[in-house]
Amino acid sequence: MRYRFSLRGRGDPTEWREAARAFLLAGIVPDFVEWRTMDDADGLFGFDDNHRPPPYPDHPPANVPAAFVKLAEAVLCHSDPTRFALLYRMLFRLVHDRHLLQMASDADVVAARRMAKSVGRDYHKMTAFVRFKELPMPADLAGRRRFLAWFEPDHFIVARVAPFFQRRFNDMDWLIATPKGSASWDGETLRVTDEPAEKPDLRDETDELWRTYYASIFNPARLKVKMMTKEMPKKYWKNLPEAELIPSLIANAEANVMDMARRAASEPLPFHHRIQEAAAKVPAAPKAPAGTIAALKEEARSCTRCDIYCRATQTVFGDGPPDAKVMFVGEQPGDQEDLAGRPFVGPAGKLFNDVIGEVGIDRNSLYITNAVKHFKYEPRGKRRIHQKPNMGEVRQCRWWLTQELELVKPKLVVAMGATALFALTDMRQKLEDVRGEPIAMEDGRTLFVTVHPSYLLRIPDEGRKAEELVRFREDMNRIKRLAA
């Protein structure tokens, strides 16, 4: 037996779902159901012939994936009359084939997705192109401001979009009228009907300001009309207050640009000269006295001795008391140091702080610096991968390290890692050969060599890491004794 079923078909998902469930439970194959909407010519007879078959005994319950329910709710808002049959066919197939929706290239799935996408686009365009006009307040009435809008959607989406406007325009009364139903909000209740409305005659003074903005934000030198009409199709223009300007904006664009090009730069106004004079008169910031660490640091801020500077955020200069007895030299600032502008504040710095804290060295008594003062790295997506500075860069940057040594005059210099050792001695040695014993330097200072704390962080094996950490702590203990 064939069934004929009529629906209102104005985007309400319940009416189709209930009917479809009944047909499915009765085991009626899709070809035997004819779906109609009230607005069809034949549907004038209304719902007289709407009868549902009795459920087939022992039919399994009609369970469908949640994704199908979501998809169907969107598709039911579409204005295509074939949507009911398509959805029932998919529902019927889903009983035997739970994975139907994952077959992204299946013809039915593609058709349904396309309809849902079209509804989604219509939804989005409604949130974008509804234009509220303010209604004048009755003279004797104070209260919430009232707004009215007219919009012409392609599909039956008013009920679907209405909550969006309620979430957004809470503190005003509004009504959106469309040929496919209306929605309104009065601060307490969101009301929706699917009855067609008439286009009201509306006016709002603020539209004039909006048109001014629209015309001024447009750049005539970049005319791309196709791009505009793709995103703002002409069918919407009649209800957009700004759209009436479009033809003249396009027509005059080229002339405006030519005009701009023809006019040569004019002489600056007195305003400009006054600013320039004032800027020239501003006294330079007080400089730190020459021959101090502060002055050296200031000078290093604009260092361009090698190419790393323009990739890094800033110079990360040494930090600590200008007369410290012990100077620590690391390799180069890392990601965190580069952002903060201070040495040893990242993960390696934290480990360093922990270890010297355990052995009882006060970080505030140390002068801490790096062999290279800018962060060298390779960008990798959202991260920066540390890159070892090359010998040329270390030599260039020694200019600063040497002056730091001369000004701070530390008794003990600690090289952490091979780069620091190279910067201090110009020798490329295996760290292990010189590590852990004080070495006398030519200038009377004592050099002590240990590993860089970031080396400890990189050891993958936990056992070895713990061993190395013990050795590092022993080194720090020796440094404490040497400094005493």
């Binding site: 325009f169 603020t206 004039e208 300001l209 447009f218 090009a261 400009h272 952002l339």
Partner: protein
């Protein structure tokens, strides 16, 4: 005589149009349905109108004032320019934002400003507008503030509490370029400010010990803009700078703005048509870097001068230069490989991976997924399809090249 609000709106939006960004996406979800007030943000932004330049109008993009003490050659508002000057009061900006928002013209405000008196004075006024919108008027729409690199840290911090997005324009891809065209701007200051913003965002994202709640600080992150075609920088230089900015400061977006002739233009600048196609190719390359697993070097090494091909999109150019890697089997290849096939986008690749678990895909399947067969055919094999060594054809790139077009003079 004082200009009317409408006249000043014309001046101050005209002055703001060279900023490319109008994005209102990527912030937290919030609305006024329970809390009252006005406004909502729902993740993806909304473009409320499109101008005939094809650009989205999502925000009220204006300057607080176009008086400026800086003299940046490329800028319409530089102090030596003879353009009309105007300024809004903070109250006027608040009023315009709210009234435009109520009529559903916009998603929110993108406020920028010329530098008047001092960086702090200007920043203070901008922060005041954002604060009034949020605290006095319960405004929950989108706010984007252009921050001024030299402004004090406490002002930037307050700005981040009210704004969804903060941005500082890097303006030009090289330090030398900035030195030449924007002599008052300090590239190191710009980088340091971006670094401070990133640190601030990370610090605020850490749950506090007392409440375990994360504080909100510029939830839509930071972005920047580079002008393309004003100085001589190559595309490789530009993209290299972008990659460093993305990696260093966690930027959400780097915008490329084709240099567009401005009224009363400085004599140091070319009066050219804006290089729109170049701008478009840069965006494509930027996407390949961020979403398709390409390195900048792979994209820009195809041409010796470090420029991108204007006729063909960078992914196709890469594929034509690496024919030995094709054809790719759509029924077997991994995601990373599929992403490198010209004509396959991230969404299509996802659909292919899902669909091929259930059946072997044919060309018809791909067509239904919305793929352009003409573009993809030479680069893939599918069930029932092998490209007859199409990738070896010497005229392969000619198959994709656009038809020649008569050039026009500006």
């Amino acid at each position: 005589m004082k200009k009317s609000l409408k006249e000043r709106l014309a001046v101050l939006s005209d002055a703001a149009k060279y900023d490319a960004s109008c994005a209102s996406s990527g912030t937290v979800k919030r609305d006024s349905s329970v809390s009252g007030g006005l406004g909502s943000t729902e993740g993806s932004g909304i473009c409320h109108a499109y101008a005939p330049d094809g650009r989205c109008i999502s925000l009220l993009k204006i300057l607080l004032t176009n008086f400026c003490i800086y003299d940046c050659a490329y800028c319409i508002n530089r102090s030596s320019s003879n353009v009309e000057r105007a300024r809004f009061t903070p109250e006027e900006v608040v009023w315009l934002t709210l009234e435009f928002y109520r009529r559903n013209y916009i998603e929110g405000l993108f406020l920028s400003s010329g530098i008047i008196r001092s960086s702090d004075h200007t920043m203070e006024e901008m922060v005041r507008i954002a604060r009034d919108l949020r605290t006095v008027h319960n405004f929950r729409g989108y706010i984007h503030l252009k921050t001024i690199p030299e402004a004090s840290a406490h002002l930037i911090e307050e700005a981040g509490l009210y704004a969804d997005r903060l941005s500082i324009n890097i303006e030009l891809p090289t330090d030398a370029g900035i030195g030449k065209f924007a002599p008052e701007k300090r590239p190191d200051n710009i980088r340091r400010s971006m670094g401070e913003l990133r640190l601030k965002m990370e610090e605020m994202a850490d749950p506090t010990l007392q409440t375990k709640r994360r504080k909100k600080f510029a939830p839509a992150g930071q972005s920047t803009q580079m002008i393309v075609g004003a100085d001589g920088a190559s595309d490789a230089t530009i993209l290299g700078t972008s990659a460093r900015l993305y990696g260093s400061y966690g930027l959400k977006r780097v915008y490329y703005s084709a240099f567009s002739p401005i009224p009363d233009s400085s004599k140091n600048l070319p009066l050219i048509k804006p290089p729109l196609m170049r701008e478009h190719r840069l965006y494509q390359a930027d996407w390949l870097y961020r979403f398709y697993g390409f390195d900048i070097g792979e994209i820009t090494s195809t041409q010796s001068d470090g420029m991108l091909d204007l006729d063909l999109d960078p992914k196709l150019v890469w594929a034509l230069g690496h024919r030995e890697q094709f054809p790719v089997d759509v029924n077997k290849a991994e995601r990373e490989i599929l992403l490198r096939v010209p004509g396959l986008g991230t969404k299509t690749v996802k659909s292919i991976l899902s669909a091929r678990r259930f059946r072997r895909l044919r060309l018809e399947d791909l067509k239904r997924l919305g793929v352009s067969l003409k573009k993809i055919q030479p680069f893939i094999t599918a069930e029932g399809w092998t490209p007859h060594r199409l990738v070896d054809r010497t005229d392969l790139s000619a198959m994709f090249a656009p038809r020649p077009e008569q050039l026009s003079l500006l």
